[in-house]
């Protein structure tokens, strides 16, 4: 029951995100706008994170589930992967390696030298 209420709230914020994106013509997906809205509510202290437990953590923990039905559509692309599968994998591996190094080096070079790892509260 509690979880259902929490999910209903998340559904409502999601809808609101799409409505806001549409109304203000934001170039952002509605679900992302919804996430930023909730982030703003949490940061402002309007909504304590405890109100969303355990419904919200349940959904994020099982986020991967939702991508199974989406990825099943890959059945339609058999010919593409037979023809260009190797090229696609090469592109993904090379660009991931470049990206990890670019991001890591940049933030390490600009970051303050740190004390040991601090545990966020």
């Amino acid at each position: 029951m509690l979880v259902a209420l929490q999910w209903a709230a998340l559904v409502a914020i999601n809808r609101l995100g799409y409505a806001v994106a549409e109304a203000v013509r934001l170039p952002l997906p509605g679900n992302l706008v919804g996430m930023l809205l909730l982030l703003a509510l949490l940061s402002a202290g309007v909504v304590p994170a405890s109100w969303l437990r355990p419904g919200a953590p349940f959904l994020t923990r099982h986020l991967a589930f939702f991508f199974i039905p989406i990825t099943v559509g890959i059945m339609r692309f058999g010919a593409l992967f037979a023809r260009s599968g190797v090229a696609i994998v090469v592109v993904l591996v090379v660009s991931a390696a470049v990206g990890v190094c670019a991001s890591g080096f940049t933030s390490q070079a600009l970051g303050r030298p740190r004390r040991q790892v601090e545990v966020p509260t």
Binding site: W7, L10, I13, N14, P27, L28, P29, N31, L32, M35, L36, L37, L38, L39, L42, S43, G55, A56, P57, T60, A64, F65, F66, F67, I68, P69, I70, T71, V72, I74, M75, F77, L80, S84, A87, I88, V89, V91, L92, S95, A96, A97, V98, G99, V100, C101, S103, G104, F105, T106, S107, Q108, A109, L110, G111, R112, R114, V117, V119, P120
Partner: protein, 227 residues
Amino acid sequence: MKSLATAFGIAVTLGAYVLSRVVAKRYRSPLTTPVFFSTPIVICALLLSGFTVEHYQPAKDVMVFLLGPATVALAVPLHESRRALLNDLVAAVAGLTAGSLSTLVAILLAKAFALPAVVRASIALKSVTAPIAVELAPVVRGDPTLVAAFVITTGMIGAMFGPGLMDRAGIRSPLARGLALGTISHGQGTAQAVGEGALQGAAAGIAMGLAAVLTSLVAPVIVPLLL
């Protein structure tokens, strides 16, 4: 027939997901990632029982209903880890931007290999967390299914090889390591970073969220120019 196909589709998908969680608990590896592990099982089950993608569509519509709300729920962990970012804002934003820009390499390589336009557009979203990438797909004329496949593959590649690569490259700062994993490999990279340490995990979670915002703003403008 239609409702039978729907029930079958949901049952098979749920079953494959639960199985992947059980297997991943025993053998933790990028290969036991739920999507990578479960999708082939569902496809085989559909093919063997004579169902097509069209039969599966209603089941899919039911199952993805909570995807939007689940994306909104990501605000909770983001909020909890915001301190890691605020402590080192310049380094974090610069690293994030550099990592996101590296996606240009993917688009140019895809062009060099003469991959079809829909593939190039979809590859441009490979480092955006899946729920948002799927929404962005039509905006850049990509295909949501291809986008999901590329996102998940990139997540696996980064989680598998990212930490080893950074060891060799001498990237040792915990903030930098977490940021790089989250920027490139979103959710799967974040899971990997959490395993390295609390600061790495927090940095990765924030990087994943901000990379999604950055790409949402930039991709619709840049991707059409590069295709």
